[in-house]
Symmetry: C2
Amino acid sequence: MGKKPLTRRQEKAIETKNRIYNAAIDIMDKKGFEKLTIVDISKKANVSVGALYHYFKSKNDILAEIFRKADEYFSTEVISSLNKASVPDQIVEYFDHYAKFNVASGVEMTQQLFNPKIKFFIKKSRPMLTLLQDLIRKGQEKKEIRMDTDPEELARFLFVMARGIVFEWSLHEGRYDLEATMHKYIGILVSTLRS
Amino acid sequence: MGKKPLTRRQEKAIETKNRIYNAAIDIMDKKGFEKLTIVDISKKANVSVGALYHYFKSKNDILAEIFRKADEYFSTEVISSLNKASVPDQIVEYFDHYAKFNVASGVEMTQQLFNPKIKFFIKKSRPMLTLLQDLIRKGQEKKEIRMDTDPEELARFLFVMARGIVFEWSLHEGRYDLEATMHKYIGILVSTLRS
DNA sequence: TTGATAAGCTGAATATATTCAGTGAATGCA
DNA sequence: TGCATTCACTGAATATATTCAGCTTATCAA
């Protein structure tokens, strides 16, 4: 990788984008999603409204970026913390982490994941998805998981279900225990995958 | 039911609300959700913006009303069209209809179902849910469905999964066959419910 | 009948996201 | 070095949802 040195301009641009991003995170943390306005973000970041739109297509685009980074973080965290012996158990564990992660992110944030404007899940959650696919492939090699379906499809199936579970929880404003529900339901699903 | 006669005022109010509702439906059908604006709706309905807000809490509230009516319609339609002999098969059939219904509604509309602002699913989809619960109860009586979980929870489980499936489809802009996917996945789930 | 009340409704004001025509400075090429 | 080009950035204009103070008139109790 030749690391081409950045021009002064490019350095400043990156710094500006980060300032906008961090201002958004900050406001969100302090006041919640509802109170996150473009004007406030630009004020806090000391840029004009136009500058904000120079770096982000829309307000939702900022959110998408936040989600993307969170997802990246989750993937690297979870990959190093699966302890169970059998792959089916590891899959359950994987979704335990996923539930915990959503709880930690908060209901308000989680609700935004389903905002049709954001389309977060499509390209972005690839790291999470491939991680799960690899797990399933390993399970099939170890004959712990049925072989009649390919890892891609099984992973997709599990994810679709897990998202349904998270959506239900976010709909109910997080008023019940997501981790317990996830554990139970994924447990049922995984039992159908065992060979 | 004593049918108390409406005053002239009340009649007019109902008519106005309907005019607003129909204007919204009309614009949505013709131009899609993106082009649905408050000003256009009020113009088409011949009322002021304020009047619109007198009848609906927000734009999303109009949508919620549309979804509610659609749901009502679905419930009455589907209840009279389950032909299969066994209850598990009827459940699969039920979700076949559900998929078909979403396809008929269109992707754009379906995406809006998941809009966190609308909170459609919470109270509103009761008729659909109770219908499914009754079905499951009947299945348990006929010993076709396992008895270790109550109908409420099984119905909820299936619904959560079905919503995940619909969400995935709407995310992908309806680019694949929802009915086939629903049939397959619900089939897998229902097989775990058989006694 | 009449006056008080409240329902239905108005539209201008407000809040907020998004666009866009321009400005000035950094870059890079001759 | 000089200059054309492009990039980062500005902020006023626009689009849209939502609020609200107040108007008009139907309703109804006395």
